[in-house]
């Protein structure tokens, strides 16, 4: 049947039996293949990502020069120069500070609400229905849909922005969390219930850590959408002049056709995104998922 299968007529090879004392295994910790320099460099996460960033920057510069339309698409070097100028002049830091503050409030509030919602959702069936229905309804709604309610409830300014950010974070995180919760192994669930855990404690002590890979993915998406929403919302919702954040900075620069400033603002968004991803989320991953063997 199988070309490589053994010769049917032949018995296994005859060999003598033997017994030995297991060899000495002290100091075995030192056995490690040394890595070449190239391997060690390639092993460095930061270095590899930096290389990617450099390549992207070069592509940007080259393409922008080829286009030669700085009002529409400035070069990387021009953007960096502007970025640096605006950074050192303090403008960019100020604006980013304002945005970050709003963002953090909205993000944390969104997470808290999402925790409450998903806890309700896994505890009762009506909770599940409620969450899936609300998510399906509100998730596709753009921020302007909330404008009237925001105006009535919170007026203008930061509370309204926070409200919109909560809207953008809540559903994305809840959706991921719920789907994570639902794929927690049955045995682990049963273990938790065996210890009389239920309701909030069950969620906190069993479901949350067990579903952490999905939750973390949700947190990342939520974070990204909080940014997007904030920048869009600053335009829709009234910034009262001085208090504008990065979104307003970008809008203003656009209105003044300071395209390099627009891109400097976007660069700020990107830089923060990269920092958050490679510092905060990476650290969380290394401390949790990778340590627990829940992620390769």
């Amino acid at each position: 049947m199988n070309a490589l299968a053994g010769d049917v007529t032949r018995a296994p090879v005859e060999r003598k039996e033997f017994e030995v004392v297991p060899i000495d295994a002290t100091g075995i910790g030192s056995i490690e293949k040394p890595l070449s320099l190239a391997e060690r460099l390639a092993d460095n996460d930061l270095l590899r990502k930096l290389a990617i960033l450099v390549v992207l920057a070069v592509v940007w510069e080259a393409y922008a020069r080829f286009l030669g339309n700085p009002l529409l698409f400035p070069t990387f070097s021009e953007t960096i120069q502007t970025f640096w100028r605006e950074l050192t002049s303090g403008v960019l830091l100020d604006r980013t500070g304002v945005s970050m503050q709003v963002l953090l409030i909205g993000y944390s509030l969104g997470l808290v609400l999402s925790a409450v919602f998903t806890t309700l959702a896994v505890s009762t069936r009506i909770g599940t229905d409620l969450l899936t229905t609300l998510t399906a309804m509100f998730n596709p709604l753009p921020a302007i849909a909330l404008l009237p309610l925001a105006l009535i409830w919170f007026g203008l300014g930061i509370p309204s922005l926070v409200f919109v950010i909560v809207h953008s974070v809540l559903w994305a995180v809840s959706l991921n969390t719920l789907s994570g919760f639902r794929s927690v192994p049955e045995v682990l669930r049963m273990t938790g219930r065996n210890y009389n855990l239920s309701g909030v404690r069950f969620v906190m002590k069993i479901l949350m850590p067990a579903a952490f890979p999905a939750i973390l993915a949700g947190l990342k998406i939520g974070w990204a959408f909080a940014w997007r929403t904030l920048i869009a919302a600053e335009l829709v919702f009234g910034v009262s002049s001085r208090s504008g954040g990065l979104g307003w900075y970008i809008f203003e620069s656009r209105a003044e056709l300071e395209t390099a400033q627009v891109f400097a603002g976007l660069l700020a968004v990107i830089v923060i995104g990269l920092l958050v991803e490679s510092v905060i989320f990476r650290t969380i991953e290394a401390r949790t998922l990778q340590r627990w063997g829940m992620q390769r």
Binding site: R15, V20, A25, I28, I31
Partner: protein, 280 residues
């Protein structure tokens, strides 16, 4: 080479044909962020054509790790592993694995689809033949009634039988089995052991079999590699060709069991403390 005592033992069968599997001074390690865990240390052994080679040792001694390395999933930090004189670099269907864990079944495929899958994926069999082969092997493990059911609806033991059926259907050069019968009930286990032996009688395939049951090692194996406790090192290599289910009650069977038990658990000689863990 690293251990002259072992070379002397292997050298016994002079002018033997070249082995299918040749493991030489294999040290296997896990790198974790904090620790460097050595699972096996300088292990040598050869598996020849048509061997039923058993890896026997206490829990945590590195049997599964060794099997994974032969499967091509890990590279030794020291030493080499060769299959038919080629260094093992990657996994392949010539070395089919049956794992210890139930998760090895694909939850999104029915039992029948699970068994058919590797045959389809590797294209080792004719398209028309595959389904019949799968049905035949499922019949052998007594799961004909469950072919259209998904794995999560089976009991643990039934899942394991599916995994075994799946690997058997492939007729690999070397079958790598990691405690495959541990989760089966007594009767099914016995049946499966017999099935394996009778299949072996038909095609004389080569099998590398991990177990921690001395009895199973003697019944299933033609040659048994006894490993020391953690980190796994070679303790002995014994012949067990003579023994099957029929002669479990023979005095020689009992003697061999006793001998292996001694090798495994009685530290007759003063062996240096084996549980040294290096903290990186």
């Amino acid at each position: 080479m690293a251990n002259p005592g072992i070379n002397a033992g292997v050298g016994g069968g002079a002018k033997a044909p070249s082995p299918i599997l040749d493991v030489r001074g294999a040290t296997l390690q896990y790198k974790t962020p904090k620790h460097l865990v050595t699972a096996t240390y300088k292990v040598d052994f050869d598996v020849y054509q048509s061997d039923r080679f058993v890896l026997l040792g206490p829990s945590g001694c590195g049997k599964s790790t060794l099997l994974k390395a032969v499967g091509g999933f890990m590279q030794p930090v020291e030493g080499t592993i060769r299959v038919r004189d080629r260094v093992v670099k990657a996994p392949g269907p010539d070395r089919m694995m049956v794992f210890q864990e139930f998760e090895q079944l694909m939850p999104w495929k029915t039992i029948l689809q699970n068994v058919m899958f590797p045959m389809q994926a590797t294209k080792r069999f004719d398209r028309g033949e595959i389904r019949d082969r799968a049905l035949a092997v499922l019949d052998k493990v007594k799961l004909s009634k469950f072919i259209d059911v998904y794995p999560h609806m089976l009991s643990g033991g039934m899942k394991m039988r599916v995994a075994i059926a799946r690997a058997m259907a492939m007729e690999p050069d070397i079958l790598l089995m990691d405690e495959p019968f541990a989760a089966l009930d007594a009767l099914t286990r016995r049946k499966m052991q017999e099935e394996l032996l009778s299949l072996w009688d038909q095609t004389r395939f080569t099998v590398l079999f991990v177990t921690h049951s001395i009895e199973e090692a003697i019944i299933v194996g033609s040659r048994i590699l006894v490993l020391s406790p953690h980190p796994g090192r070679v303790r002995a290599e014994l012949n067990a060709e003579r023994f099957t289910h029929e002669n479990v009650d023979m005095p020689e069977f009992g003697l061999l069991m006793k001998r292996i038990h001694g090798l495994l658990f009685e530290e007759s000689e003063p062996v240096p403390e084996p549980e040294t863990e290096a903290v990186a």
